[in-house]
Amino acid sequence: MSTGQITAPGAPSPSGEAAARPGPRTGAHSARGRRSLSSRRALSFYVFAGPWVLGFLALTAFPLGYALWLSLTNADGLSDNSRFVGLDNYREVFTDPETMSSLARTGIFTAITVPLTLAAGLLLAILVNQPIRARGVFRTLLYLPAVVPPVGAALTFKLIFDRDSGAANGALDALNLDGISWLMDPYARWVLVTLTLWGAGNAMIVSLAGLQDVPKELYEAARIDGANTWQSFSRITLPLLSPVLFFQVITGIIAAVQSFLPLLISLDPTPRGVTAVPEGNYLFMIHVFAQYFANGRYGYASAMLWVLFLIIVAITFLVFKLSKGAVFYAVDPEPDKQSRPRTLGGK
């Protein structure tokens, strides 16, 4: 599976074209033969891509258009006479203090969890990359929490941080300290951060894959040149790992701004009910759910989600721009450029 090419997936201009070279050419030498062959080939591309394209149009593009329309109306799902309100919902997104503070809280949550997860994952990856016994077992066990479904993870943390029967307060009690209402302000946000960090095994596995691609000879050469551990880490490991870390920053941000874990931690034991989410955990997504489920404000919820999407796009773009000098590609991220067949408009 390895091609030795490290590229950042999701990049605006992915290596897509380059890696997927056009299929083999058979013995059709005449221009006409080639044309009929290539049009057959084009047709078969659409036979294969067709189901996804249709699905995209019906289940993504159409709902997106619908969401855009909804965001311009005051639809509430109850009355049929929703009407066009123009940009009112968007104006409200930027003027509603509750929306803005939930957005700011989401920003802080992201700014805390993404670097922490990245650092924890990298540290664990370095540890399980050492020549030690049973490192396969360590890798597997540390990755295990990342496999737990979100509901299972949230329920587990609810039990640990329960006011009366939880292990956290049990430990405090053993130290003769008073118990804490962990699932309420101001502590709830740290429970959320801890829960998020519990899945750092994912970051570990991704970083580990990157570490294993670093050529061992580089470290040997550095050692001969008298480099210490920190120097070889900062001069060899980090630069060669930067595309992998960059990938994690992007996907981490996208996941974090969409986090709805507080919903699962604060879920009330009544159908589809949410107990009051502590203010510290009232993230943007929770506000969207509250507006959508509790208040039935489909229009406003859709406007909020569109704003979130534009923010995601803007952040991704910004991270790409900012990381230009910091991300080091060992191999040209767009390989095989020269080897493209000339018939496809080559110079």
Partner: protein, 273 residues
């Protein structure tokens, strides 16, 4: 020096293991406690009379097997369909060429950035109008379209297969569908396995879509588990929650442990190369 460093590595790793496995231990511990032990002060670290009755009660307090069957149905149907459909589309993106392909591919990649919920709200309204809520048809439809991430995975794998594979087949007069079905698909079992496991566990773990689209009778274990274990007064039954959660999480963990070797490699390399 080397010896000291190695023991420091072990100490850090064991510390990390305690932190990462501790929550599992507490979950199991709570599941084995008698109901009144949950209220005991100070907290009982170990159940004084460990028994399995919580597991039995967790199965009967809600229609556990019924909800598990719903989850299993949705997850299996979706996993099988989405894997086949993603392999199908992935083959096209890897091996075939047509005008507009780059555009289609860029659209595919950018849909990975869409917050799922942004399309889910209108999709819910759409399915409600078509009377498809409280059915599993949405998962069939989603499955048939393939998932961008899995398509990308298959595309990467198929791109790296040697040209000679299809050249010989073309000379023998095979069409693209046969080449895909007979030559490429059978070669791609590591990706098929990864895709099946990933998509199965996404659906098994998903909360939002079933909560939105399914009523109480059709919903999944993930949804029911989150609010189903309450007594007559509406207060949560912690040890039944724990027992239910253990039985919900263990199949996923077991599946992962069985396949972890290939899976970890698949996850690690999928998005990166």
């Amino acid at each position: 020096m080397v010896f000291r460093r190695r023991s420091a590595v072990y100490m850090l790793l064991v510390g990390a293991l305690v932190l990462f496995l501790g929550p599992f231990a507490w979950l199991l511990d709570t599941a084995l406690k008698a109901p009144d032990e949950l209220r005991a002060l100070p907290v009982h670290w170990w159940p004084h009379h460990p028994n399995l009755s919580n597991f039995r009660d967790a199965l009967t307090h809600i229609d556990y097997f019924g909800y598990a069957r719903n989850s299993l149905t949705i997850a299996t149907v979706y996993a099988v369909l989405v894997t086949l459909a993603s392999a199908w589309a992935g083959y096209g993106f890897a091996r075939l060429h047509a005008p507009g392909k780059k555009l289609v591919f860029n659209v595919l990649l950018s849909t990975m950035m869409l917050p799922q919920i942004l399309t889910l709200i209108p999709t819910y309204l759409l399915f409600a109008k078509l009377h498809l809520t409280n059915t599993y048809v949405p998962w069939v439809l989603w499955g048939l379209c393939g998932a961008p991430y899995l398509i990308f995975l298959f595309r990467q794998f198929f791109s790296n297969m040697p040209k000679e594979l299809e050249e010989a087949a073309i000379i023998d007069g095979c069409g693209q569908i046969r080449i895909f079905w007979r030559i490429f698909l059978p070669q791609s079992w590591p990706v098929i396995a990864t895709s099946l496991i990933l998509s199965f566990s996404w659906t098994w773990g998903d909360y939002i879509a079933p909560a939105l689209l399914l009523d109480d009778a059709h919903t999944t274990l993930a949804v029911k588990l989150a609010y189903g274990y309450v007594n007559a007064h509406g207060s949560p039954l912690g040890n039944l929650v724990a027992a239910g959660a253990v039985m919900y999480v263990v199949p996923v963990l077991a599946l992962f442990l069985i396949v972890q070797r290939g899976f970890v490699a698949g996850v690690a390399t999928s998005g990166l190369k």
